[in-house]
Symmetry: C2
Subunit: 363 residues, 2 copies
């Protein structure tokens, strides 16, 4: 009836995980030696290490990360906070962040925040698990949550978002330049009247793209572009485009702050209004999501490198976790124009090499 010392008899049926003490006993050393073997700190002789590793393998031992966290005061967990935007671009970011986090020796705790809500309600979880750092993508950091992080000294890096007041690091695309590039591209295509479809009002992503777009438009001598909100959704983009075209002095060049909205806009223009996108009206998106390349759209867009952004964000975060007193940095990554079919080629090249093959335009 007496509970036999675990690990002796039935090798497989061990219910509870093996501990370092059991490995120590099996290897004929102290628990410290086992710990040193796995944590790779302190001195362990080759001989001992071998014995410990053999015993560990035999028993199926994996150090308990929870116990380790308790004593080291590092959970090696990074909270990844993401709004519940169901776009392929957001998954893309997510997977890449996740991979970078793992590569840096951490785990990703995913916090999904409804896009309508603020992050505040989710902070207790983050704090309870004593995460070593937080990556925030496509979600809002309230000032209250920001103060919490600062008080508790939890490093934060924002992806493609900035909080004006806070001294947090961020990694973004060069959104201002993206806007400038869009304005320039549309102007070169001969567009006379420009329009901007914004995402969500509070996001720096949308705001910066707008600022760049408006500034460059002005520099190029264009009238102040028209403007509609598109809420970063397909439907929002659809409606925005339809509304814009109903104005007197409707635009012939539309820059959307995201590809999804641009696709909505393209569909409104071609199916609702019967216009030829890339001829009657030019549309340019931003991000270069996977869908932008689909034959149905062949969307001209300003490409953002999600992999680079994710990797850089995790790098920055880990650096801040390591040296705690680092000054926050704001980095921005280059963007580039991807020419496809929704913007007329530049006038100068109208009969040049660019207009060669008679590929079908989107109708």
């Amino acid at each position: 009836m007496a509970r036999k010392k675990r690990g002796s008899g039935d090798a497989k049926a061990s219910r509870k995980p093996v501990t370092s003490y059991e490995v120590a006993e099996a290897a004929g050393v102290s628990q410290s030696a086992v710990s040193r073997t796995f944590s790779e700190r302190g001195y362990v002789s080759q001989e001992t290490r071998k014995r410990v590793q053999a015993a560990a393998r035999r028993l199926g031992f994996k150090p308990n990360a929870i116990a380790r966290s308790l004593i080291t005061q590092r959970s090696r967990i990074i909270a990844v906070v993401m709004a519940d935007l169901h776009y392929s671009f957001s998954v893309s970011i997510l997977h890449q962040v996740c991979r970078a986090v793992r590569a840096a020796g951490y785990q990703a705790l995913l916090i999904s925040v409804p896009s309508s809500e603020e992050i505040d309600d989710y902070m207790p979880d983050v704090i309870a698990y004593r995460v070593d750092g937080i990556i925030i993508t496509s979600a809002l950091l309230s000032t209250k949550a920001a103060r919490l992080c600062r008080d508790r000294d939890i490093p934060v890096v924002l992806i493609n978002r900035q909080v004006t007041d806070s001294g947090f690091s961020s990694v973004s695309a060069d959104n201002v330049f993206a806007g400038r590039l869009a304005a320039e591209t549309l102007a070169e295509a001969g567009c006379r009247r420009l329009a901007f479809v914004a995402g969500l009002r509070e996001t720096s992503t949308s705001l910066d793209r707008e600022a760049g777009f408006f500034a460059r438009a002005a520099e190029l001598g264009k009238k102040r572009p028209l403007r509609r909100d598109g809420f970063f959704t397909y439907d929002g983009g659809y409606r925005a485009a339809r509304d814009l075209m109903r104005l007197k002095g409707s635009p012939d060049g539309i820059f959307c702050a995201s590809d999804i909205m641009a696709m909505g806009a393209v569909d409104a223009l071609r199916y609702d209004l019967g216009l030829k996108v890339g001829e009657d009206v030019s549309v340019i998106g931003c991000i270069d999501a996977a869908e932008a390349a689909w034959k149905s759209f062949e969307l001209t867009t300003i490409a953002v490198d999600s992999a680079a952004m994710s990797a850089r964000a995790v790098d920055l975060l880990v650096e801040q976790i390591d040296k705690h007193d680092m000054a926050p940095r704001r980095e921005s990554l280059p963007v580039r124009l991807v020419r496809r079919k929704t913007v007329r080629p530049p006038k100068s090249a109208a009969s040049g090499p660019r207009a060669r093959r008679g590929e079908p335009t989107i109708a």
Copy 2:
């Protein structure tokens, strides 16, 4: 120079998190009382509880989940394993799983597995953090990993995947019925020659849809449908459709095992082959992803309820975590046809109420 007792002087600048002992001292009670107040077990008088809560609030105390895990032997963490498919449907599932996990009082540790890799390399992480359970979506569970989970007694629930040998629980759409429904819908639309575009060979999702489709096609007296692999990608679907149409005896009704492939197929048919989808050829997808409703596609599809699937999967998992000796269950959720524009309306209703308004067909 002596380190002053923390928490007395500067309230805000506390670097290290507050512990239950500090709260106990501040409230003039023992650490046990603090623990009982927060774990909501054992006896605590109203009076004490109030005092503890007040002190906790004052000091900004949150119980350390890591320390708690160590003693309770429950991490309250669920690993969510997902292949890196960058589709809106996968985010959708992910967010919903995440929400359900949180609602059940757990946290989600996200494990992103490249779709080409097996889960094996990621098991050590899962084991190290002593997760209480695993949810696997759109990823493969190798037999080795399966054995690991069984040995360590870690409950697993698969979403939309099944591992034939393993005794693990799973929650899927009724994929066989989805296939049957697709066959029926195409037959009713008057299609003579059917074809199936599969996803990935190893996935039960694709296999079951295929089985149902072929079975029902046979019952309806159709010739054995043609078949191509589409790898669950847009490009795969595009190529599959193009290839299928080049065959002698090309199909006029195509069922794709996912919407993304169906969209690829639609684009190949209309742009590459110049066919009218919904007239010359009918296409039906599966899942009802957000993009399926876009004007550019208006894809007829078999809808799968991702929210229900996610919620059910988490329910099942939590149940298994609570009572450990539960028999594995395999559940399947109903699917339903969403008629849009890529399948001709049933012949019987050709001049009936369904063919009313002259809305544009996809060209």
